[in-house]
Symmetry: C2
Subunit: 155 residues, 2 copies
DNA sequence: CCGGCAAATGCAACACTGTTGCATTAGTGG
DNA sequence: CCACTAATGCAACAGTGTTGCATTTGCCGG
């Protein structure tokens, strides 16, 4: 149970959770830890498989769903849908690292690539509307999936 | 079986399907018809429920999936994921009507609103990349779902 | 330090979306 | 009109997400 490493990381997650006004539980700390450590949004399935390096037993499937929901509800995590229709979660604040450029999603392999260009400014909204997120999604085929030769179905 | 109305619509769908180089079947015509008539992308569930006005029996669930896949494969339909993680399909070409303005998606009610502003120009891609679609997605709360009064959880 | 309450957990069962296998039916080309 | 292939319909399955309920646990007050 007592581990000297990564204590700062874990306590920061605990801090964040406590500051959000919800109970600090093992599951929440572990999940937020994982989200904050991840360099890209994680799916439920991926998180279920990660306790390998976390120490003790795996988190229950349903509990994991509820932990994620609670983190989203208190603003510590963000929820999005990937191209396969699966929810992916990321630590709030982490997306700031990805806010200053455009993403290209390959419709074939599902990969996400970061483009150099800057995203356009957000548009004006009608009265009463509230802006939460602006996603400038560019989709197509990446270099690896592009048909270099001939593709009869596309001709 | 014989209906005099909507013949032009239906035969156009048939034309399109035939031109795409695949078999012209009842299911494909009916589905493409529905997609072309719809003013917004339809989900599988929505399409399963629509034969009310189409005349004869409902299409099999699995067949509908396969019909949709075939329409996407031959370029007659487009497949996308909505905010709930459900696939939605639209007739190819229909999105051209929606290419000249921005969409606002309400994260609460799931509604889609058309904004007046024009979308930004597509960015430059790395070598080998192939642009297929540019989605400028603006998400937030619509006027109906915005918290007019106080929202303790957000404070 | 201890007890109690509400929230969080774990388990089972379920609902919805999408997929696969296989026998039958129906387009299409000759 | 025949035959051949693709498409259909049915059953069964897989993955993702949800709900109900009993039990445990974090947190707070005594």
């Amino acid at each position: 149970m007592v581990r000297a490493s990564a204590t700062a990381e874990e306590s920061l997650s605990s801090e964040l959770i406590r500051a959000a006004g919800v109970k600090v539980t093992r599951g929440r700390v572990r999940v937020l830890d994982a989200l904050r450590a991840a360099r890209q949004p994680l799916s439920h399935a991926e998180m279920e498989a990660l306790p390998a390096g976390a120490g003790d037993a795996a988190i229950d499937r349903v509990t994991l769903y509820r932990v994620l929901d609670s983190l989203v509800a208190c603003g510590l995590a963000l929820k999005a849908v990937d191209t396969r229709g699966v929810f992916r979660f990321s630590a709030a604040g982490a997306q700031r690292r990805h806010a200053d450029h455009i993403h290209f999603r390959c419709t074939d392999c599902g990969g996400v690539f970061c483009l150099k260009a800057e995203p356009p400014p957000p548009p004006k909204l009608p009265r009463g509307f509230r802006l939460n997120e602006v996603a400038y999604d560019v989709r197509g085929l990446c270099a690896g999936c592009s048909p270099h030769a001939a593709s009869p179905a596309r001709a």
